[in-house]
Amino acid sequence: MINVEKFIRPETIGAAVSLLKAPDCIVLAGGTGVTLSRDPNVRTVIDLSDLQELKSIDITDERIRLGAMVTMTQLRRASGLPAALVTAARAIGSTPLRNVITVGGELARGVYWNDLPVALLAMDAVVEIASEAGVEKLPIAAFLAEHPKKTLAGGKLITAVEIERRFTHVGYLKFARTEVDYAICNLACGLRVEDGVIREARVAVGAIVPLARRIPEAEQSLVGTAPGEEAFVRAAKALVEAIEPRPDFRVSREYQRQLMESLTRRVLEAASQSEQ
């Protein structure tokens, strides 16, 4: 913020995205990541706090729509959301941080410890992005295929996240040294079980990798099997084999591998026992 000259609170999404075209802009949502920035290239702060249309949660039996400025506390308190989503929101930081951290900020920041993107990957969420060219909807896996900074370059603004309630079982787990610490590993899964068989599976991991991502090897090992210990152990092994853990000064690589295996089994077990 050292060279900032302008601080603008646009009143419409249109005004925000037209300002965002300038390369020296930074978007301010909750501010937990932006406030302490020392980036000398940032000249303009675009504060989204007046955009009321980004602050609502809409829930139906089929879909969930979360505005980009919805806070983790709002998610924590909302009724009718999948438990895994509420658990992920609760896992983030502490109360005063959850009071300001937003859905859009969790997605746009792209730091390894982000919790929400992992849960959203397991639910096949779709990220709604506005720019001067119009509105595009990007599956979250595609959104996270590159660092969000790249994905959002050129004046793009996250406006909402949509979740189709397709999975019958969804789970989320964060592992950290303390409740308020950054995750060492977080894991989420989404299963669509029909007639006792897993028809579709999503397994996503964060913190132990530089950017949250799905693990197709674990997903494929689950499809067509019956939910249960045997399938979950196999999926956990597939996940561990597919991941090269990010170096982490807090834990050894051996520890990371054992952790991923245990957490994968646990999250699948927990999800399979919960109805969404």
Binding site: F7, L28, P96
Partner: protein, 158 residues
């Protein structure tokens, strides 16, 4: 410099601020020194304030971002002659030792009691999870919040 207007404990101030000035540094500069600067980077929670009634860490809010909004600090809660039930309960429970974390913790407690007028221990622990206290073991603060909540419910205190 960025012009801002801010309500601090019922008083409106207008001033020009540097773009990187945090709400925490602004509050201390204008004399609201109950708001403590511990870590300055969002960990310790000694700088907590209520911003439009929401409990936040003021080191992670830019002064310019707070413009047009209202800030409440512990100065607005009560004073020695007329303490707020939370202040009385914290003293009575022995929840205050060095006191550095307490102004912020009282605001966190006020906020959590607004959300949960009869808080469980679990709800208190969650509501205070952003406040580090290096003197105590948090046990007395939890007791104090429970006591204060009961008093506030009886008195219909805000």
């Amino acid at each position: 410099m960025i012009p801002i207007e801010l309500d601090i404990n019922g008083q409106t101030i207008e001033m020009e601020v540097a773009p990187d000035l945090t709400l925490l540094d602004l509050l201390r500069a204008v004399g609201v020194v109950s708001v403590k600067k511990g870590c300055g980077e969002g960990d310790c929670g000694a700088c907590g304030v209520l911003l439009d009634g929401v409990y936040v860490k003021s080191c992670l809010i830019l002064a310019a971002q707070a413009s047009g909004r209202s800030v409440e600090t512990v100065e607005s809660l009560g004073n020695v002659e007329h303490p707020h039930p939370l202040q009385t309960a914290f003293v009575d429970a022995g929840a205050v030792q060095c006191g550095f974390c307490i102004p912020s913790m009282l605001l966190a407690a006020k906020s959590l009691i607004e959300d949960h007028p009869e808080p469980t221990v679990e709800q208190i622990r969650e509501g205070l999870d952003g406040n580090l206290c290096r003197c105590t073991g948090y046990v007395k603060q939890i007791e104090a919040v429970q006591t204060a909540a009961a008093v506030m419910k009886e008195e219909d205190h805000d």
